[in-house]
Subunit: 465 residues, 2 copies
């Protein structure tokens, strides 16, 4: 990242009082000294030239020269070879804490929900940004419709209809800051529309459950079995909406079969319930035919939610909703209230990226890479930990491995961490106590060549228990 | 913007059932036909080659050829000269409504809060994006601290301390999606911390008042006079926080003088009240010395809020808060719950843009442009509408012109609109009824050469009343 490099004409906030008994050069000295002491002027940053600062403050240059000389003498400032003046390197003791490291050192990273960030298509993305900056009309950088750029909503609807079998339309599509904000907007809108109870899968992501509860929804866990959510239990649950990861249940990896999809739609239609379809990693599939989105079956009762976090990178914070006609106004208003809409440039770049087929290209490139990692992981588990039972591996970027009863999930996770292997347990995702133990292996962010060694180390942890 | 251009290897979601009595080529035909009919396949989009689709679906190529030929015959598909197959242009009647035009045609735009979007520094911004995409480590595109990129928080703290006289620190800085989200996070956090009543300036922005009320705050208007908010009335108002545009009151343009700043800080210190300092256009000043942020006087009771919307473009949706130590954790958590953090690339690009002095350069370039417009507007008002009384013109991107009592503000605004002049009235910003009438002239988005004609037209409207 760039270091602080200030031009010689940077401005300083130095209010001087001409009616003050303190001479101007003393006022200037005092203020510059304070600015250095308090860190307002950072060590090594370049000061304006005496001419520029004199001009800016409408004082004679001699006053600035005098003040600079004093502070050079005091050691607050230092001269540069080229003649410019900078804040001395050791002028203040840094009292800003150093940033906490983003994550503890992990030799082998099986944390789920992480695509391979080294593979982010930087060059095509830059091309899209460059085209947008060259071609987008100026008004695209102004305040716009909170639902998002029309170009992106159009491109998303076309893409989703083609690849995910949705019945999407630009007017029903809302761009949001990742799935996280999308779910937040849905929860807020649902509560505002009278919803009180929300069903989620058990197990499922605990952070999203907490966020929905924070919006005022009572959370009801619906058990998941080998075929995904037990939709037959929904009727008794007496809920207003249900969040479901139907394409690849998180974290068990189950795919909701046609009869459960039909039952889910029947539930929603019968009770005027709302289905939130979290289609988080449907683009990655390896052994099975693609299964279209439930939204395509019942667009009036389903909010489809997707994001670029798994297919490209979480840092883009690009998410999207396709809402029923009855809800889209409310959700768009919630988005506008939340932040007046998402950043323009990213949206336009992503629209360009989609319509040029770059996402298709990227996915075609990534699928064999992830499939190779998946295969290596299954082989390594079979080799080193044959007592584990992997499931949900036909798609996505993670799999679940059931543990035999005699093994302690928490102890394995902790032992693995000590051995440099980051793997997640199922317990933190479970709602009802006493569920079966298992380990979640994300393989999106680990090199294929490292997988065997990682599992071997994990096996070492297990056998030492 | 790019048109839809699909590569020949795009994927289609066409689930086939081998165990179905319907032959595969019929299944394929039917599904492609439905996809065209429902718009899932957009008119003129290119289909995969027969070879590619056969490979994708693991069926023989002859089946695909048969299905394509049938649909060509039915008119759903059409052949391209190069041999590829596309969806026929007239295959379906478009049922997608055309997008509403972003804004009604305005010949002369005096709407406030708009910088000149034609002057957005596209080339330097692209350079910053290019550097970031070339240099940023991969993990920057993953899930990170919801407060924002450390690079940007550092660059912002350095910039604000230098130019705005704040006492900012990376650890106390939170990046958000524009000021709108910043205020939302503040309101939510304040309510969660027990705040019930919020003071705002009267007049002030009604949308922000509505948003804060939506977060559960009772809104209390505090009158504004020639010197900004009547801080002396705060004690009686019995509020927990106060939002103030101290550098350039919106919309009257008043600058809060030192004694009121001191009184405001005394109020906050005495009651453990919170000051929200909306420093929205402080970088633009023309005739007076810069006045530092109140946050620099009392960082423990002030949340400083700024954004790139006026200095660069609203479409960037880049905003920032500098929070007291006591509140930063709560606000960071609110940001994380809202959307897990703002997009990475924009943040890194802005950090680069700031540290290289590009924002300083841009502001230096824009100040004389805006000053010229301000001067032209004052001259034109003096010439054509001498009965108006302009105030608040020493800074910012707008001024207020008081109307004499006999003139009807609403009628002038409506008549101006008919004459192609977009100007705002004060009434919609006022809280207490019966306030003095006035017109708000934003001059950020109107060419200097157009200003005289615009005011002349407006004068025509006024004299015809």
């Amino acid at each position: 990242m760039p270091r602080t490099k200030t031009s010689s004409a940077l401005e300083l906030l130095v209010p001087l009082r001409r009616d003050d008994p303190e001479p101007l050069h003393r006022q200037l000295e005092r203020q510059l000294r304070d600015a250095v002491r308090t860190g307002r002027l950072a060590p090594t940053s370049t000061l304006p030239s005496t001419r520029a600062l004199a001009h800016q403050l409408a004082i004679s240059r001699g006053i600035v020269v005098e003040a600079y000389e004093q502070l050079l003498a005091e050691g607050y400032l230092a001269s540069r070879p080229g003649g410019s003046t900078r804040v001395a390197r050791a002028a203040i003791a840094p009292n800003t804490p150093t940033p906490a490291s983003v994550a503890a050192a992990v030799a082998f990273d099986f944390r789920p929900g992480r695509p391979d960030l080294d593979e982010f298509p930087r060059a095509p993305w830059l091309r899209s940004i460059r085209r947008v900056l060259a071609e987008a009309p100026s008004e695209r950088f102004g305040y716009l419709d909170g639902r998002g750029m029309p170009e992106l909503r159009e491109a998303l609807a076309t893409y989703l209809n083609r690849v995910r079998g949705t019945v999407a339309d630009r007017e029903l599509t809302v761009v949001c800051t990742g799935f996280a904000q999308g779910l937040h907007l849905i929860a807020e809108s649902a509560v505002a529309a009278g919803a009180r109870r929300a069903a989620v899968e058990d197990p499922s992501d605990p952070e999203y459950r907490a966020m929905m509860a924070g919006c005022g929804l009572e959370i009801v866990g619906i058990p998941v079995d080998h075929a995904g959510m037990r939709v037959d239990l929904l009727d008794r649950a007496n809920v207003d909406l249900v969040v479901v990861t139907s394409a690849h249940q998180y974290p068990t990896g189950a795919v909701l079969p046609p009869e459960r999809r039909a039952a889910l739609v029947a539930w929603a239609s019968g009770r005027a319930g709302l289905i939130v379809e979290d289609d988080y990693d449907a683009e990655f599939r390896y052994d099975r035919e693609p299964i279209g989105a439930i939204q395509g079956l019942c667009s009036e009762r389903v909010i489809y939610a997707g994001s670029a976090s798994k297919v490209l990178a979480p840092g883009l914070r690009l998410g999207w909703l396709v809402a029923p006609v009855s809800l889209v106004e409310r959700i768009s208003a919630a988005k506008k209230t939340a932040d007046l809409g998402s950043p323009a440039l990213d949206q336009l770049a992503f629209a360009d990226f989609l319509t040029r087929g770059e996402l298709d290209r990227h996915l075609r490139r990534m699928r064999p890479i992830y499939r190779g990692r998946r295969d290596a992981l299954l082989a390594a588990l079979h080799r080193h930990l044959p007592m584990l039972e992997p499931v949900g591996a036909s798609a996505g970027l993670h799999l679940l491995a059931w543990l035999p009863r005699e093994l302690d999930e928490a102890a394995i996770v902790a032992g693995a961490e000590d051995a440099g292997v980051a793997v997640s347990g199922l317990a933190s995702r479970q709602i009802a106590p006493g569920g079966r133990a298992g380990l979640i292996f994300g393989y999106g962010a680990i090199a294929e060549a490292a997988i065997d060694e990682a599992v071997r180390r994990l096996a070492g942890v297990v056998t030492r228990m």
